[in-house]
């Protein structure tokens, strides 16, 4: 019990100053991640997943106001000096983006960019050492002929190879915490599975704590230990992955599970729930999901449900106890 938790986020709030006033994109989010654990973060587009995770790394633009607490191994990161954050970024905390094409600098070779990652955290490495380490890293993610590909530019790589290189770069300095923001969304369906395998193998091998943002519940089922479901800037359900699929405790989660198409090999996208989430400026006073919720009642529109323990999970729904039947769709997916 001596070692502090890898990541402990409490009441994280992020708001942006805009022409329309100050808009809250993340409204009080708690996240916990233990070493070597995989946390799935799911939710529709605009629910605040990327903003919350960027806040952890201190990567939001200056006009974003961030409050709450973000503890990494017991150290408070909110308000930490830029110097300290720079040491952590790319060192003990690393990031993988959705689209590896735009995430690599088009003017520098893949090798230069991976070597830069190494060099930024260990200035003593010689040119030759950097190159050797970079080749090793490309080998680690199974890029063929790494010693020649190292000198190629991002546009000369295929999408899958680029994302492998991105993963290699992210793990270059053996991070303890890895944030992967939809690492496969931009890729062909056929290579998605390969990339996830690479990511999972490395996560296990290096015992990395992984926060995995995804739209794909199949990915969550196959990789995550625990899942946080976000809706309109809040976490509406948090559960162990088996519990989530077996007994979803929130109507939104249920809708997500029900929306998974049961076609052979197709992966579930979350966009297929009727209606759309409220805009940041137009959140209803009670439960943000009320306008779309089949179970909504008067209380839902006046009182916001708090996230509270229900069974082994936590749910933010007034009627959480009445939910819990295992859906057929979820069964089919598992």
């Amino acid at each position: 019990m001596s070692e502090p938790a890898l990541l402990e986020v409490r009441d994280l709030r992020v708001s942006f100053k805009t022409a329309a006033g100050e808009l809250e994109a993340v409204c009080g989010v708690d996240l916990d991640l233990a070493a070597g654990e995989v946390l799935g973060v799911v939710g529709e587009s605009g629910s605040g997943k990327s903003v919350a995770l960027k806040a952890i790394m201190g990567l939001l633009p200056p006009r974003a106001r961030v409050t709450g607490s973000i503890r990494f191994r017991g150290r408070e990161l909110l308000g930490a000096s830029e110097r300290e954050m720079r040491r952590l970024r790319g060192g003990r905390i690393a990031l993988i983006f959705q689209d590896p094409l735009t995430a690599f600098n088009p003017m520098l070779t893949i090798g230069e960019q991976i070597a830069e990652m190494l060099m930024l955290h260990d200035r003593s490495l010689s040119r030759a050492q950097l190159r050797a380490r970079t080749v090793e890293l490309l080998e680690l993610v199974s890029i063929p002929e790494p010693s020649s590909r190292i000198d190629q530019y991002p546009h000369e790589f295929s999408g899958g190879m680029r994302q492998r290189a991105m993963i290699a770069m992210a793990v270059a300095n053996r991070p303890e915490l890895l944030i992967a923001d939809e690492p496969t969304t931009a890729l062909d369906v056929t290579v998605q599975a390969q990339i996830l395998d690479v990511l999972r193998d490395l996560q296990r091998e290096l015992d990395i704590g992984l926060a995995l943002v995804t739209h794909d519940l199949g990915v969550v089922a196959g990789m995550a230990h625990r899942v946080s479901v976000m809706y309109s800037g809040r976490i509406v359900e948090h559960a162990a992955v088996d519990d989530l699929f077996a007994a979803p405790r929130h109507p939104y989660t249920r809708a997500l599970l029900a929306s998974i198409p049961r076609l052979e090999g197709a992966r579930g996208r979350l966009a297929s729930i009727d209606g759309s989430p409220p805009s940041l400026a137009g959140r209803p006073p009670g439960c943000a999901f009320a306008p779309r919720c089949p179970m909504s009642a008067a209380v839902c529109r006046s009182e916001r449900p708090a996230l509270r323990p229900v069974g082994g999970s936590r749910s933010a729904c007034h009627f959480a106890e009445q939910l819990g039947a295992r859906t057929e769709e979820a069964q089919a997916l598992r």
Partner: protein, 337 residues
């Protein structure tokens, strides 16, 4: 890509011929009798002298005839003889080219480097005092004509403050260094004449800044805009997520990318420099092609005017070609096609 550059290279002689033709036609249809620039008033009154002059300068022939002869000579690199200096125009131009090149190159370097630095700073501190200051500096550079700003600069820094020397390339008391490149600064360095070098350099400062200022204005605005664009992109966040510091982000990651669209502008601003050099050389009594052009125009010295036009066009075409090549090399996505 090599194909494209090759085509551009092959098109150059044709373009030059076009320019020479235009210059020839304009030169022959403007009002004003070129004889007036060859002969003085008394000679003009003497029909014999006029006829002799016409024969000597080929003016008795028809315009098409003159054109054919002109182009034929042009192909041999002969630009004819100046009415005014009575020397081959080619000789005159070659003598004066180094002075102009020295000025234009240093103005180009100054404008580009200072413009890039100011553009990067303005983008980094956008909407702050630095950005507003940069905007004003750029605006002055691209809107105030050189003949005016040049005169003011001479008055302030040379006459009033005596920080910098007045017009010319070198103090009259000094002997120009032995010609190697024709650039006084470089030649003085090569000869190890430090005093001459310092003097030539100090003469170069004001015309360089005044001529380069407009380039600085254009380039700083362009770099600012494309920096702001690039700074929004994912790979900048990636670089930050790697732990890169501000300077590394700005220079290694952002500026490199922002340079690509700015390169085209650098090529364009070279065209500005060619015309701007004419005014600058006049204001600063700089003995280059620009002031030669002004003298030629004043005295209706047709061969010289056409010669200058061709040199200007050639410089413009070369600058554009170099820009294209730089553009290709700066951008791996195009270079590797």
């Amino acid at each position: 890509m090599t194909h494209y550059l090759l085509r551009r290279l092959l098109a150059m002689p044709l373009l030059l011929l076009g320019v020479a033709t235009m210059a020839f036609l304009l030169g022959n249809f403007v009002k004003g009798d070129p004889l007036a620039s060859i002969l003085n008033d008394r000679q003009m009154a003497n029909p014999e002298a006029v006829a002799a002059a016409k024969a000597r300068w080929g003016l008795e022939r028809s315009i098409p005839e003159r054109y054919v002869i002109y182009v034929g000579n042009l192909l041999e690199g002969d630009l004819g003889v100046s009415f005014r200096t009575k020397r081959p125009v080619m000789r005159d131009l070659l003598d004066r080219l180094p002075a102009t090149l020295e000025l234009v190159i240093s103005a180009m370097l100054f404008g580009t480097l200072a413009g890039m630095a100011i553009g990067v700073l303005a983008a980094h501190f956008r909407n702050g005092p630095v950005d507003h200051g940069a905007r004003i500096v750029a605006l002055i550079g691209s809107s105030v004509p050189v003949f005016w700003s040049g005169l003011i600069a001479l008055y302030v820094f040379s006459v009033q403050l005596s920080w910098l020397p007045g017009p010319g390339r070198l103090a009259p008391a000094l002997k120009p260094p032995e010609t190697v490149t024709g650039f006084y600064t470089v030649d003085a360095l090569l000869a190890g004449e430090w005093g001459t070098f310092a003097n030539a350099l100090s003469h170069l400062v004001l015309p360089t800044v005044m001529l380069g200022w407009a380039v600085l204005g254009i380039i700083s605005r362009m770099i600012r805009a494309s920096m702001l664009d690039v700074m929004q992109q994912d790979f900048i966040t990636t670089a930050r997520a790697k732990g890169a510091g501000t300077l590394r982000l700005l220079l290694r990651h952002a500026l490199r990318n922002a340079m690509v669209p700015a390169l085209t502008i650098i090529g364009f601003s070279f065209a500005y420099l060619i015309t701007g050099a004419i005014l600058t050389e006049t204001v600063f009594s700089w003995p280059g092609i620009g002031s030669y052009a002004v003298d030629a125009a004043r005295s209706l010295d047709h061969p010289a005017i056409i010669g200058v036009t061709i040199v200007g066009a050639l410089a413009f075409l070369l600058a554009n070609l170099l820009t294209d090549i730089a553009y290709v090399f700066a951008n791996p996505r195009i270079r590797l096609e």
